[in-house]
Amino acid sequence: MFQNNREGLALALPAAVFTALLFLLPVGILLSEAFKVDGSWSLQGYIDFASKPLNQTVFLRTLKLGALVSVVSAIIGYACAFCIVNLDGRHRGRVFGLVVLPLMISPVARTYAWIVILGRTGIVNDTIISLGLSKTPIRILFTETAVFIGLLQLFLPLMIISLVSAMENLPKDVIPAARVLGANWIQVFTKVILPLTKDGLVIGGTLVFTGSLTAYITPAILGGSKVLMLETLLYQRVNVANDFVSAGVIATVLIVMSFGANILLKRIAAARN
């Protein structure tokens, strides 16, 4: 009954054509701007971009924060996932729901709270001053730390979800078996849990890393123009200087990094085997 492939194609094409024409095409053209100078193909745009120290700083900073958020969220993620998976049914559902909840809320709202917490008159500073650890408020906002915290809060749930899913699929009794064979908890993690959940780690890691690379709101609100990341830089270049070449370069770099991260992580996962 489903042999008429033409029919099937006709059903699927509208969606594909819509996306291709109205979405991918304009994006493709934008990316190509990065390869053009005065109408002809050239890599000059990239060279110019890469040679400016500001751009280099922003690029490295974006990578660094992306990696840091990924690693920290993996550590916290595994700890949480392990605890969640060992909870009984009712509690597990509730806790899991609470973890997923923030994902449904606008990133603007999620990031804004940090202003209240990390600002000069915010909770953290109030506590620090009242505990006598410092006489004047420390500047936390508009530093890399603030952006790091904001990004971590934003993407941690993704890592947790991914790891919980992976850990739920562990073969039955494998952990008690390792224990009875003499493994302490660290060995159980490195020799059993890690190898068997590495797909979940790759998925979570990719989501967190690419998410952090391409974040706009959090760096914009918590970093401002003092802590520029690639996307906030892009916005600035276009808005302030109409610099579409830079925009194209950054866009291409971002997309390449996203794909690259994905492939690299997959290779690592396969190699560990």
Partner: protein, 259 residues
């Protein structure tokens, strides 16, 4: 038991980190003073109420709602047939089509907004709203296809074959047998799409103009000018809205099955 305590501690601290900030925002919005402080000096609902009176918030809210609702509906109109085709047929270029439809998730939103602005709005005279609409539809489409595919995957194809043998036309079989059974999947896709579109920011950054702003963008520019608790109140309200929608969905649909 030691491990249970440790477990509670780990989960508790993590949840505090993830959700604590909301509680703070909700409370900060209740501040009676004129500035954003925490703990708030005095409790008052004035900022929550003020949110409803700011005209630009009302307009941008309306726009965001419009995009979320109609963008998602369009995405479903395009996506349901596509999901059906991919899961039931063996179409040529299936992988390519799947990749194309899923691509919007990978492209950073800000690039999308900029690209549409430059190549559709300016040269072809598309209105900003139209461009926004198309961008949001394309963004929701992958989710729609994925959720509906998952829902279709749970249905065996013998049902349609049985219907046809009993005399139904193909379309009839689809309407009478498939649609009713994927209802909750479609609804789940709608809610997921709605929330995704409503909370979307980067795409809308460049696609805004006088009177045309999505709510999150409006909030961002408001934040740059004023530092009063109304943004906190608005954030809290939006958070409630999203949470309520998802909560209702979970209660009535068992949402998590499809995502």
């Amino acid at each position: 038991m030691n491990t249970r305590l440790a477990s509670r501690l780990i989960i508790g601290t993590t949840l505090l980190f993830l959700i604590g900030p909301f509680v703070i925002i909700i409370l900060a919005g209740l501040s009676a003073g004129d500035f954003m402080t925490f703990p708030p000096n005095g409790i008052s609902l004035k900022w929550y109420l003020k949110v409803f009176t700011v005209e630009s918030f009302r307009e941008s809210f309306a726009l965001s709602m419009f995009l979320a609702i109609f963008g998602t509906i369009t995405a479903l109109i395009l996506g349901i047939p596509a999901a059906y085709a991919i899961s039931r047929y063996d179409i040529p270029y299936a992988e390519t089509i799947k990749t194309i439809v899923a691509a919007p998730i990978i492209v950073p939103g800000i690039i999308v907004g900029l690209a549409l602005l430059r190549y559709l709005v300016v040269p072809l005279n598309f209105t900003v709203t139209l461009a926004l609409f198309m961008a949001h539809t394309a963004l929701v489409l992958p989710y729609a296809v994925r959720v509906v595919s998952s829902s279709l995957g749970n249905l065996r194809s013998d049902m349609e074959e049985a219907a046809v043998l009993l005399g139904c036309s193909r379309i009839g079989a689809f309407m009478r047998v498939i649609l009713p059974n994927i209802q909750s999947g479609v609804l789940a896709a709608f809610i997921l799409g709605f929330v995704t579109s409503f909370n979307q920011v980067p795409v809308s950054l460049f696609l805004s103009g006088p009177g045309v702003r999505t709510l999150p963008i409006d909030m961002l520019s408001y934040m740059e000018i004023t530092y009063d608790p109304s943004v906190a109140a608005l954030s809290a309200l939006l958070a409630f809205l999203s949470v309520a929608i998802v909560f209702v969905a979970e209660k009535f649909l068992g949402f998590s099955r499809y995502v």
